[in-house]
């Protein structure tokens, strides 16, 4: 080779790099649980990403065939253990759909209250863990401090901090203790400034924007084809939230509530102007938008909790309790999806006339959201993989079931 005849660009093109198979996980800190990503890399560029799951498989669907619908509630806690109230609710509503039960209005308001508090707790983890993956430690501490207060509230409510077994088919397990609603209100009052703080340290943080804007872009068509739901779908600009667009047994819980669906439509997010603006480098469907949607939803959920406290305390009587332990199921099937913090959580119950279901199926939102990671990581830089996986906010307990 004649060195003097080779231009600078040709030198770059001529250098051959070796492809490498890099295993990220199963215990990598930024994979959010026991997830293994097999990455085929060329230098810093990821050519292909293949997730390997199943490390946390505990045969949840099989267990569902051995227990009554009441006994299965604690197992739903262990799906998305960061949002167990919403898991309980999805199961309870599916059983109620199968049995044709309707709970009282007071019970519905209490369920909305706990599930939206739980959504805040889940999104706090989702947003701050993404920040942590990208090297931002402070918001992680702030979010966990606030989440801790929510867990304290839940502990006072049902005795458990994470795995509640609280929302059950037929109603809820216990009435809130005296003064609990006031404590919820106090929490919300001091929580509002924290959302503003998070916007300062993450949303408008230049380093954070550079790490997430334009990274892992998902088009609405691809998202829908992969069955992506929840904040992942809404971040692509699709205004779709089962709290408004789901089945009546679920949407009627939210009929009286005012809240915005956090999705950019016609180039604008709801309450445009009252939130930090979208940076110019962000592309709809990228990691930044997924983060932003969650942060907006925290604010919306806080507003819903406030309304729920008022509505609940205005009604007389007590919330309804669970159905009998050995309630027989009809020879019929019921499938229902609800809007869990991670996306659309579906349960299918097929009854055979006995108290134990013939078949239980769990449609996991994180499972579908994660399947799109192959598409999103193709061609990205190695350092961007945590920014993409982190922005999906997956929970492996629910993926592996």
């Amino acid at each position: 080779m004649q060195p003097e005849s080779v231009s600078a660009t040709q030198i770059e093109y001529d250098v051959q790099t070796e492809q490498m198979l890099l295993s990220m996980g199963p215990q990598h800190p930024s994979t959010h649980g026991v997830l293994r990503l097999a990455l085929r890399t060329d230098g810093e560029v990821v050519l292909a990403a293949m997730p390997h799951i199943g490390y946390l498989h505990r045969c949840a669907e099989k267990i569902g065939e051995k227990l009554t619908v009441r006994q299965f509630v604690p197992y739903t806690d262990r799906l998305d253990y960061l949002a167990a109230m919403n898991m309980n609710l999805g199961w309870a509503l599916t059983v109620e759909k199968l049995l044709g039960i309707e709970v009282s209005e007071k019970t519905m308001h209490l369920r909305v209250l706990v599930c939206e508090l739980d959504r805040i707790a889940s999104h706090l983890v989702g947003t701050c863990a993404l920040g942590l993956d990208l090297g931002s430690f402070t918001p992680f501490m702030w979010c966990f401090r606030e989440r801790e207060k929510i867990l304290n509230l839940f502990e006072a409510l049902c005795g458990a901090r994470m795995l509640y077994n609280y929302v059950v088919p037929g109603g809820v397990m216990a009435e809130p203790p005296r003064g609990w609603l006031e404590q919820c209100r106090q929490f919300l009052d001091q929580f509002q400034p924290v959302i503003e703080d998070l916007h300062v340290v993450l949303t408008t943080n230049d380093v954070f924007i550079r790490r997430t804007a334009g990274i892992g872009v998902l088009s609405p068509q691809t998202a829908i084809s992969y069955g992506c739901t929840g904040p992942v779908l809404r971040a692509t600009g699709v205004c779709w939230d089962l709290r408004r667009h789901g089945e009546p047994i679920y949407t009627r819980m939210y009929d009286d509530y005012q809240f915005h669906i956090a999705a950019q439509t016609d180039g604008r997010y709801p309450q445009h102007g009252r939130q930090p603006p979208v940076p110019g480098s962000a592309v709809l469907g990228d990691s930044w938008h997924r983060f932003y949607v969650r942060l907006l939803e925290i604010g919306e959920s806080a507003a819903v909790v406030r309304q729920a406290i008022d509505k609940y305390s205005r009604l007389k009587g007590a919330p309804s309790g669970p159905i009998p332990m050995r309630t027989k199921l009809p020879q019929a099937a019921a499938y229902l999806e609800t809007e869990a913090p991670k996306g659309q959580l579906g349960f299918l119950i097929i009854g055979d006339g006995s108290a134990v279901p013939w078949r239980v199926r769990i449609r996991s939102p994180s499972f579908c959201n994660l399947s799109a990671v192959e598409e999103m990581c193709r061609g990205c830089l190695l350092a961007d993989v945590p920014a993409i996986v982190g922005s999906l906010d997956i929970v492996l307990g629910e993926i592996d079931r």
């Binding site: 799951i53 084809s225 069955g227 779709w240 667009h245 055979d352 013939w358 399947s371 592996d400």
Partner: protein, 179 residues
């Protein structure tokens, strides 16, 4: 979600297009469903995804159900043994839902151990890629034409399909006793 308007007309349209492939249907049920012959599933699936009056652009879930029965069954049931595949679809544009149902034998040609076959729909909805792997893994259905049909939740060398009703767990896995 509101049901698709003018249900009988929609069903007639499908029957006209696919004739005998549509085996049974109830579009006025709480969860509206259509039973499709296995070999015609991809054609019907592509049709309901693309037709402007259906627009089932999202596949939410695939479920495999083993309707098994022999003299040891405790459940008081009267079905003939078979496998059912349930495809839960939804349309964001029309705010409607639909379930496609496919009935398969428990074993291909009645030969125990030969998995029943159904064509894949992974080229129609990408969701199906992982969901079909899971049904293959846990229920034991062969999805013909799937690009990468491997186990997904169980270990690669696992034997059997745990959500089959007559599944017997092994005594041990690689020297680890299974209680």
């Amino acid at each position: 979600m509101p049901m698709p308007a003018n249900e009988p007309a929609l069903l007639d349209m499908l029957k006209e297009q696919f004739a005998a492939a549509i085996q049974e249907a109830d579009l006025s049920a709480t969860d509206p469903w259509i039973q499709v012959a296995a070999e015609h599933l991809p054609a019907v699936a592509a049709f309901v995804r693309d037709h402007p009056q259906w627009r089932m652009e999202m596949l939410n879930c695939i479920t495999g159900v083993d309707y098994w029965r022999d003299e040891t069954t405790t459940a008081n049931v009267d079905w003939q043994p078979h496998i059912e595949l349930l495809y839960h679809l939804s349309s964001l544009a029309r705010r409607s839902r639909l379930m496609l149902k496919v009935v398969l034998p428990r074993w291909k040609e009645g030969q125990v151990g030969q998995l029943p076959e159904v064509p894949t729909v992974s080229h129609i909805w990408r969701t199906a890629e992982w969901h079909e792997r899971e049904v293959f893994d846990l229920v034991g259905v062969q999805f013909v034409g799937h690009p990468d049909l491997r186990r997904i939740l169980c270990a690669e060398d696992w034997v059997g399909h745990p959500l089959r009703k007559d599944y017997q767990p092994p005594a041990e896995y690689r020297g680890i006793p299974i209680a």
